[in-house]
């Protein structure tokens, strides 16, 4: 099985206000098509780990491989390109650009990648929105739709560049149970039907139980 993501001996220290080891020798890997959740109590370092895996945080020790390519030590611009192409994000607070339409929000990462023409990107974006049953809202301004809808738009945006892996930081944390189920089902579908890899940080036990694998964390270590 092809390894989509692999972490080797990752250590992370916070230096302020006092020296504190947030992550202690984390090693694990995710296979293609796997739906993995990271669980743990608040402050156990699970979000910290996610941001390191997402390449946004570069201040760590150890090695990180994405698509069997060493990521550690790349420049900020290379990492930005890498995130753009290979990683889709879904956050707890949807983080859409409020002044832009839904469609523009979804199209933006693809435009940045710049591999397709404007028409192709627009077509793709509509397809992704259809997949998430939110295409009828495409021309609304992002600040005018409900929270559940926003989260689905955020997922559509994460999918637009057909990433290798989707990462979620409490993607259902801010949603009611109906919308949370909805988001979970979308993830499950993506994982099963499109063989997409997913890594989701959550403290929702029900959510985690339904995933393929649970990584339990405590005090900066994998338990």
């Amino acid at each position: 099985m092809k390894k989509v993501l692999e972490a080797k001996h990752i250590n992370k220290f916070f230096r302020k206000p006092v020296l504190f080891q947030a992550l202690n020798d984390i090693s694990f890997s995710i296979d293609k098509g796997e739906f993995v959740s990271i669980m743990g109590k608040s402050g156990c370092g699970k979000s910290t780990l996610l941001y390191i895996l997402s390449t946004m945080d570069t201040d760590y020790e150890g090695q990180l491989f994405l698509n069997e390519e060493l990521i550690t030590g790349k420049t900020k611009n290379e990492l930005a390109y890498f995130r753009n192409k290979h990683i889709g994000f879904v956050f707890q607070f949807h983080y859409l650009l409020p002044e832009f339409t839904i469609l523009e929000n979804v199209m933006l990462p693809a435009k940045k990648l710049g591999l397709k023409s404007h028409e192709e990107i627009e077509h793709d974006a509509i397809e992704k929105l259809k997949l998430l049953h939110i295409d009828e809202q495409a021309f609304k301004i992002a600040s005018r739709i409900s929270g559940g809808q926003k989260q689905r738009v955020a997922i559509a945006r994460a999918l637009i560049n057909d990433p290798t892996i989707i990462m979620g930081d409490e993607p259902t944390g801010n949603l009611d149970s109906h919308n949370a189920d909805n988001v979970f089902n979308i993830f499950k579908e993506l994982s099963e039907e499109q063989n997409l890899s997913l890594l989701v940080v959550t403290h929702d036990k029900d959510f985690a139980d339904k995933t393929d694998r649970i990584i339990e964390m405590g005090d900066g270590k994998i338990i």
Binding site: N77, R83, E99, K111
Partner: protein, 420 residues
Amino acid sequence: MRWFLIILNISKTHLLSRVKQTSIAALGVTFGIGAFIILMSFMTGLNGLLDGLILNRTPHIHIYNEISPNLNQPASLYSDLENSMHVIHSIKPKQTQLKIHNALPIINYLNTNKEVKGAIPQVKTQVFYTAGIIELNGIVTGILPLEESRLFNFHDYIIGGTPQGLKNNLNGILLGIGAAKKMSLKIGDRVQLATPKGDFISLKIVGFFQSGLGEIDNVQSYVNLKTAQRILGENANYITDINVKLLDINQSVPMSKAISKQFNVTAIDINTANAQFETGTSIRNLISYAVSITLLIVAGFGIYNILNMMIYEKMNDIAILKATGFSGFDVKMIFISQAVIIGFIGGVLGLIIGFVCSKLIDSLPFETEALPTIKTFPVNFNYLYYVVGIVFAMVSTFFAGYLPARKAQKIDPVEIIRGQ
């Protein structure tokens, strides 16, 4: 190119979603640039007018024979007194003629020089204007009217006549307006002159001369060169002054030295004759630039403030842009392009407002004795100030945007996302 369009599209959306803030920032630039254009156009217009008062009618080099004592007195030539101190009382100027020796060849020579715009002869003579038994002191200058007009804007000081009119009438005179008023003379009347030789000559008034300086207007009159030579009873090579206009005024000092050495005449350059005027011009320019730059810096701070606030508001957007693959440079360019767009729109509006106001000032009445042909305020519509204005607007807004944009570039998305 595509990358730039994406960046531009994002900044456009940002700007349009905050029309109020954007337009206030742009208005700051508009007022700055507008004031700059108005100030510079008006100031340099006035400068041009004031300089013109001196520059246009003053030759760059004035060649004549000066009455002065000989520098080499006989005592200094006597070798027995070589090492002694000479005390000579009551030195008299040496006897010399007023006419310039070989004037016509000198004029021809100067006119072939590439740096010379034109060299023209004048004949100056004292006369009396006679009205009945009253005799008024006067100076008559013989000129080539058309050349004088071409090189020294002579036509600006003529009322009721033209240089051509003077040229066509060998018995014509442009009488100083002060003298004309004293003698109650009108255009078409005849005026009698008593020449230094005691002859009387009657000339027809073809126009009045007004310089704006009362003392000059009371005595100065102009006739044709030939007429002046006739008044003096001299032939065509009698020329007392040569006025030279150069293409580059800065050449006047070396040129005048060369001329005076080569032809053994007195040659005075304009800088020596009018040292003060350049100082006034440069100080007025300095003040205009200082005021404009101050205005633009204030506008720049306005933009800096608004962009700074915008970046605080847009922290989340910046974080998400970075998370989805926009680099720090992209984010920086988004904010810089916003600043420059504000600068460009505000600047162009400022140019338009500046132009309209300048036009308005240009149409306001402004009457001055000094320049009888000027009827409205002088305004300089030099396109260069518009270029400087828009460049300054773009540059100052670029810097005003650069600092906040660099801050945005450095924002760590993790901190923002975790901070929620």
